[in-house]
């Protein structure tokens, strides 16, 4: 049961990702991406990481994707860009990236064959994670806050002017 659930989720995640990355319409792509993230959240859950699964949904699918949505809406990316995007996805453009990706994937798979052991399936509860976070990783949390501050300040500085002076000189 669990196993089949895992494989279903995996297929969903993969196909949703592929679809997301091949859409011409950004909004559609975003929806697929969210689906993919949700599928990954299921995987997390199945792997015994409920805390991660929750965060995946809350922050990734929730917060970060909303940012995307916000930007897409704001820029009003609609039909106008679609045509050129479709052109960009012409099969001819697929050849080199496709081959390289396939090669890389095969190399990785080959390398991963040697990863030993099976999953224990032991769940790690949010409590244990919390203890770690405020134990050995306390400084990491602090640093993450600094990182987010940097992101915040950067995003503020870059984003704040968008509507005020829309018409740039060059």
């Amino acid at each position: 049961m669990m196993e089949s659930l895992f494989y279903i989720a995996a297929v969903v995640a993969l196909s949703a990702t592929i679809l997301a990355l091949t859409r011409a319409n950004a909004a559609h792509a975003l929806i697929y991406l969210i689906v993919s993230l949700l599928a990954v959240a299921v995987l997390f859950f199945l792997l015994g990481a409920p805390f991660a699964a929750a965060l995946e949904i809350l922050i990734y699918a929730g917060a970060i994707m909303v940012l995307f949505v916000f930007v897409i809406m704001m820029l009003n990316l609609g039909e106008a860009g679609e045509e050129s995007e479709r052109k960009g996805l012409h099969p001819r453009n697929w050849i080199i990236p496709g081959i390289m990706t396939a090669l890389l994937f095969m190399e990785l798979v080959y390398a991963l064959e040697q990863v030993p052991a099976l999953t224990s399936g032991v769940a790690v509860s949010p409590k244990e994670v919390g203890i770690m976070l405020f134990g050995p990783y306390v400084l990491a949390v602090e640093l993450a806050s600094m990182l987010l501050m940097a992101g915040l300040v950067g995003a503020y500085h870059l984003g704040r002017r968008f509507n005020v002076r829309n018409v740039g000189s060059n």
């Binding site: 050995p136 400084l139 990491a140 602090e142 640093l143 940097a150 300040v153 002017r161």
Partner: protein, 485 residues
Amino acid sequence: MNIDDLQGLLPLLTLAAGATALMLQIAFARNIKLTSFLAVATLLAATLSIVWAGESAPRFVTPLLRADKLALVFSALFCVAGAVTAILSMDYLNNRGDEPEEYFLLLVLSTLGACVLAYASHLASLLLGLELMSVSLYALIAYPDKTKLPLEAAIKYLVLSGAASATMLFGFALLYATTGTLQFSAMAQQLANIDTGNITLLVASVMIVTGLGFKLSLVPFHMWTPDVYDGAPAPVAGYLASVGKAAVFVVLVRWFIASNLFRFSILIDCIALLAILSMLAGNGLALLQTNIKRMLAYSSVAHMGYLVIILVVGSDLAHRPLAIEAGMYYLIAYTATTIAAFGLLTLLSAGKSQKENIQLHDVSGLFWHQPLYACLMLVALLSLAGIPLTAGFVAKFYLISSAVSDGRWILLGSLAIGSSIGIYYYLRVVFYMTRRVEEHKNIPEAAHGLIEKFMTCTLIASILLLGIVPQSLMEYLRSILQLVN
């Protein structure tokens, strides 16, 4: 965590506190003078704090950070470099755009990231340090808001750097899957039992090397370098080229030493390959550049190629101390030199003319109308070219000494060829600077404050001092590295 631990982290704490203070100050009252003063003060205070921090070193502060002399020395270096960048940027920012205050905040945050990298002894702190530094840099690169180039540079850097980080993270994950630990020294114990032919481990290492190699802009992960340097504001480019690379290199060396990755000879061979490619391609790419920033970018590719030689040499335990010492010296010399070279570009483009891309003909005749700045450039270029009496020469000598003792002839040959090509493009700048007055027309407006002059003299002096009396620094590095090992 006790008070001694905190004492060991003093530079980080100072920077973090400074950053918070800056943020608050900006939030409540925008005042560029105050902000810049505060930022410089923070950076200098962090520099000075290593004196006290050193008293409690070496120690682990949580598994994530290791406060030892090496970390402190490089923290100090990064803070000084940050301070110099901040000072040099003042005039530049005054003439560029509005709301310049966040610039200093981001600079402090970026320096914090670099210092974290110097302290890192855990993949988590490595990740955070790297990202903190990078994320701040993305914003710094795109900071001026009147032209397109910074934006383009920033987005290129962001996307590629993100991909590199993801690759590195994937490598971490594989590493973690194989060894079950994230801490460098614990990893060493696990790795000791692992066969040197373990594919997963090797692939993981290679992915991490890719990620870090990207930051160091080793060939073939160097493509972004010229575009980003070119588009970024000169002071930021200088900071990125010096601190941005030195921090990554320090952590790379730490990781290699602590978890003894030198055992994996095939990995070392890969690094040697990257080194050779970087030395040759970097110099080849720089050869006919007329844009000085791009030229410096390619030259930094080559210099990183020289630098990673020491990782190769370090694979032999007998020569590792010398190699690491050489690498550390090289980093310091390179940082000083790069800051100086880009500092000059900053000063030259500080004027209101808003000229961002300094071309060769823009420095034409610089010797005659800005002798002091020209001297700075001359010294910096000679140091980059590795001419005696400059820091760059002693560093290169150090590097060669270590490589010779390990008999790495192919690397040395590439270094010799690369350096000789390098002389051409460095000297070309010198030649342009010495062109007669009548031969050039457009003189860029240069900054001419007292502070700038003072900074120029200081930079010249530091490069020359490192080149003429290197003994005390050598001894100091030697002593602290013995402790580290």
